[in-house]
């Protein structure tokens, strides 16, 4: 597969995620959209790591590993982020019984 396909695919996924963030009001959904964006990135990274591996396999056997490691770290961070994020959403929900971000307008101007 030409790498561009992967680039376009992940960009598309990324864009879908952005659109989701822009169009939804439910904090949880927005959060999920961000997860989509992260996954798009992961996919791209893996694709690139593959590409680089193919480029430099001759010289360096482990070429491209770093990309996948990075993906691994992204997942790690995403997990932590999600746990905290959901905790915050829950706390919010406890107080206002809604997860609608449009209710978040006490702070403005």
């Amino acid at each position: 597969m030409p790498i561009n396909y992967y680039i376009f695919l992940s960009l598309a996924l990324f864009a879908v995620g952005i659109v989701g963030v822009l169009t939804r009001r439910n904090a949880i959904i927005i959060f999920m959209c961000i997860e989509i964006m992260l996954n798009a990135v992961n996919l791209l990274l893996v694709a690139f790591s593959k590409m680089h591996h193919l480029k430099q396999a001759a010289t360096l056997a482990t070429a491209g590993t770093n990309g996948q490691i990075f993906v691994f770290f992204i997942m790690v961070v995403a997990a932590a982020e999600v746990s905290v994020g959901l905790a915050i959403i829950v706390m919010m929900f406890r107080n206002v019984h809604s997860v609608d971000v449009n209710f978040l307008n006490r702070l403005k101007h």
Binding site: L22, V101, L107, H109
Partner: protein, 628 residues
Amino acid sequence: MQNALQIVWLVPFFPLIGFLINGLFRKQLSKSLIAVLGSGTVLVSFVISIWIFLQVKNGNSHVAEYFNFISAGPFKIPFAFQIDALSSLFLLIITGVGFIIHVYSTSYMKEETAEHYGRYFSYLNLFIFSMLLLVMGANYVIMFIGWEGVGLCSYLLIGYWFKNTEYNKAANKAFIMNRIGDLGFLIALFLIIAKVGSVSFADVFSKASTLSTTNITIITLLLFVGATGKSAQIPLYTWLPDAMAGPTPVSALIHAATMVTAGIYMIARSNVLYSLAPVSQNVVAIIGLATAILAATIAMKQNDIKKVLAYSTVSQLGYMFLALGVGAYTAGVFHVMTHAFFKALLFLGAGSVIHAMGGEQDIRKMGGLKGKLKITYFTFLIGCIAISGIPPFSGFFSKDAILLSAFGHNKILYGIALFGALLTAFYMFRLLFLTFNGSFRGTDEQQHHLHESPAGMTIPLIILAILAFAGGFVGIPELFMKGGDKLSEFLSPVIPVQQGDGVSSSTEMMLMVISTVLVLLVIIYTWFRFRKYQAVEEKGLGKFLANKWYVDELYEQIIVKPLNKLGAFLNNIIERSVIDALVNGVGKLVNYGSRQVRLLQSGQVGSYVLLMVLSMLLVFVIQFFLRK
């Protein structure tokens, strides 16, 4: 060589001392002591002046430098006095007449409290001091110092009775009008400095011939503007009549001895320049003559004794300028001298009358005073004769000299001048008759109050009367007496004698006779007209003249009012609503911007993200597709 004349600084020094002592310790000193100080210092200067005069007469003249007044790099203005024929002559007039007026004042101002008495004399001394600076200055800057100094003093003395708002306004008017003139003088100064690089008379006159005629014309005209201010010529004469607000001796001082003669002195002093600028000369002559006639016509219809005299002064000054204009500097100076005598006399006489009338100045309420005020009447009469120019009184000689040179210069000028002379005779004798002849028209208690003034006032009158009679003999025309014209001979080092004014002695004789006869006729007419006073409602031309040609009103309308309007406009509209509004506008703009920009902060996560995405979009588009 240490010239004896180095000590001339003493002349202005003494009046200065008098001013300081009287000014600082006026509360402590007794009135008599103040009087002694005030007059004494002037007397001393007078004595020294006489000594100087004699020195100069023996052909000794001197420029005494004392210290650097202003110095900027190469350019230096020394503080220096110049003693020569012209200045020494003026010294005599100033200190002499000034002294007499001081003496007169001592008794005239008796009613004043010690404090104000002291103030009065300190001002008087300062006046003398400034005038001395003016005439002794060896360069135009020193002269200018005195020039403005006398302006200040006139301001102080005119506003002497400071409780009276009218008087103060008159004082302001005097000072400000003088300032207008001074502006001309000042600019002339700058031009001189720029062109000659020095202001000392010696350098200026020696280099004068090297300057272009245009420059000299401009300079002289500007100087003349200054002169019109000081010497009350058209268009800046209106302050002088108002200056009558001051005590009468002050008027005498201003009109006779000091202030108004400054202009004459300055032009006479700069005769070298003027001789090189015929245009300016004509301007001077025409303005002078015009003023003479204008003032004379006004004087005819005035009823305030001092106002009449004031306008007569203006008119006489006009004659002097005429003289200067036609190049007869000597004649001008001559007339200054004689005029100093008889005008001082007249004013002091008027003062004595006012004194007797208990402050009354309106001649319509006087009349028949000659019975009670014999000396005053007699001296006043002499004054009138002198000013009208009847031989052999002093006025005759000086005025005749002027008329003669005018004739030599231009017949028309002569004609008009002669007419002016007749007017002079008319209003002077009108004044005389209305005041002293006929029946008394004042109130009864004034009638009882009437009395001859004390010796302190009459003696100066007598002295002046003598001078007014004899003062002319220093300038007897060649026609009567070979070498009779001592004055021009004396002044010759400063003012070159113009040889032969193109008038044959016979014509000269004829002119004298004509003028004298006409004047006498006028006097007789006046006698019949005013022997018995009947009040008449002024109308037509008379009203116009009585209201001084409405010049004051004119100025009010075309200068004062617009100026105030402009100022108000700038202050209320431009300052508040334009400039300051602009400045504050910037602040307001920022505030407004703040209020608008913060609306971006809508508090909505969605809109934040949208804005972020849009700006990203923008950047990408520019970065990838527009930017090369």
